[in-house]
């Protein structure tokens, strides 16, 4: 009896959920009179760390600028899930897709298929391995590594003991770390006393940094390469009572860190951007190409757009501070 009741309750709950979701998913209808109405899908990775949460937030922000387009935003935890999302979006007759791939290679065949089917493809941040996109927008990861390392070397006057914290093993991480390593190699006075991965995660970075601190009594600066990791490093420094005389260079432009750069916090003399708002650039490109007429617009829209990364210092920090953003 009890079991039957529970089955019934579970069934009702699922029904309620499905019905509740209807208005959200049923966006294809639009206004029938308006034949200019486009449908655009945005496929992004799930918010598993601060930066990807920022991507979601900026996507939601950017779509508000184009109320005449039906936007469908889907996030995926894995390449498999993202491929399914893309298939579902295709069946909703999208005119364009803005794709920030969870991983480049596995998404490429699907993107190619969609492109061959005549859908406008805007690829953001992680590039497909074969030509499958009409426009590719990426941040300059090598410049991220190079500029941040150059700043660190200059601020240390070419001598000092530093720690290098890497992110999740990936092409993005490799490009950054290799570019930074090249710069550091030019300074014989700079010694990398420890190098490990903080996995772009605050908690992991705290643990790794604690272990590094125990083994190294002298550290001048930490090249943390990400703001979540920078905050983890700060936790470890605080726990060890070693916040003085050391500084951290994070990256990506989290609002809390930009604020502290702006306020002149000695722990954060600078930051380097890798703005999650690049998804908004992709959304803007998709909207304007569709509006201008695809064939026409693609004649002059650049096929590859590399977004420079900027060094944030107390002087210019106000330009990079978005207090209302989640990231």
């Amino acid at each position: 009896m009890l079991k039957n009741l529970m089955t019934l309750a579970a069934g009702a709950a699922i029904l309620g959920l499905t019905v509740g979701c209807q208005p959200g998913t049923d966006v294809g209808n639009g206004t029938p009179a308006d034949d200019e109405r486009f449908v655009v899908g945005v496929s992004i990775p799930a918010a598993d760390h601060g930066w990807t949460a920022g991507v979601k937030w900026w996507a939601d922000e950017a779509k508000k600028n184009y109320p005449n387009i039906d936007w469908i935003i889907e996030d995926a935890k894995s390449p498999d899930e993202q491929i399914t999302d893309l298939e579902n979006l295709r069946s909703q007759n999208v005119d364009a897709l803005v794709i920030l791939a969870t991983e480049s290679a596995p998404l490429t065949p699907m993107a190619k298929q969609l492109h061959d089917a005549g859908i406008l493809i805007i690829n953001v941040d992680r590039g497909f391995t074969e030509p499958a996109a009409d426009v590719f927008i990426e941040g300059d990861n090598a410049a991220f590594g190079r500029k941040s390392a150059e700043y660190m070397a200059a601020k240390l006057n070419g001598t000092g003991k530093i720690v290098v914290l890497e992110g999740i093993p990936s092409t993005v991480n490799t490009a950054r770390v290799e570019a930074a390593a090249k710069v550091f190699a030019q300074y014989p006075g700079i010694e990398i006393v420890a190098q490990d991965s903080g996995m772009w995660n605050r908690e992991t970075s705290e643990k790794v940094m604690q272990n590094i601190l125990v083994a190294n009594s002298e550290i001048d600066a930490i090249w943390a390469s990400d703001d979540d990791m920078a905050l983890g490093v700060e936790n470890a420094l605080r726990a060890a009572g070693r916040r003085d005389g050391v500084w951290i260079l994070g990256g990506a432009g989290m609002k809390d860190i930009v604020k502290r750069v702006m306020d002149g916090d000695p722990l954060y003399p600078a930051d380097i951007t890798y703005p999650p708002s690049m998804i908004a650039v992709g959304i803007h490109e998709a909207a304007s190409i569709l509006r201008a007429g695809r064939a026409n617009a693609l004649k002059y829209i650049p096929k590859h757009i590399v977004l420079d990364v900027d060094l944030v210092t107390p002087d210019n920090a106000a330009d990079y501070y978005f207090p209302e953003s989640v990231y």
């Binding site: 529970m6 918010a47 949460a53 490990d196 604690q210």
Partner: protein, 332 residues
Amino acid sequence: MKNVGKFMQEYGVLVALIVFFIINVITRDNFLTAENLRNLISQNAYVGIIAIGMTLVIMTAGIDLSVGSLVALCGALAVLTLNKQAAGEAAPNTAIFMAALASVGIGSVAGALNGIAIAFGRVAPFVVTLAGLAGFRSLALVLGDGGEIRSQVTEFQDFGFGGMAVPGLSMQSGGPLLIYWSTFAFIGVALLASFLLNKTRFGRYVIAVGANERAAKYSAINIQMVRVAAYTLLGGLVGLAAVLNAARMNSVGTGSVGLYYELDAIAAVVIGGTSLKGGKGRIWGTVVGVVLLTMISNMMTAYRIDTDWQGLVRGAVILIAVLLQRSGKDGK
């Protein structure tokens, strides 16, 4: 030889810990410092607290895959409660207390729901808590708008870094060596759970239900209530771990906090010699398992093992630790 096998089966995990410890002492200059040893027992206190509860659940022949997501949900509610209390001009300590209460409360409720669906709905624990794994994370993301919920109360993070100074010991920096509140919570929870398991009727029931459900039923044990109690207890402990973690981070990243905690907790339990079949387990083994896992991470940083290889090392150690304990017969 037979005796050696039996000894390893019983104390293999402790032997492994001691072996690793000795390797570290010999090969590393900075291993045997008070600060590093403090780090070893404190770094995984959050996972440790959860692993203790997980031990009880696994002993009932259950499993809980939802704990990592529940950390996010409890933490989100804790910080939201904290900020709301602070906005209502509650004293910081009151706000922190209310946040902890909310976290442990929602954790217990979620755990109880898991337990009820398992015990009364007769759905496999794996399935019920798999649903929780998906659902609790989703609720946390809704609360956090997909991103991070930041604490507005600076005392909250002070609490996360707070603890008791060990007299006579100091850190490299010269500051006093603190044992964090979260570490005390881990040790306290372990002692209480040991007592519960070995000295109370509830503990005997947990063993009986896990060892042989039918026999337990015929002995007039209310097996459903034992199950619900075990999951509720675990849920409450998840809430405790979540609020301690949120305090340390001064925020809750709803998408990232607690990711893979369920796997770390289960790994610690299994390394510690608790049988996934239920009915056999020990709290001290889990504690050793947690410390062993922490020591491995600690070593890999010290030896500068390439990140790409670290997972393989961790996996191998888990497997070897369990194989050692099976070296007797089928280690049931």
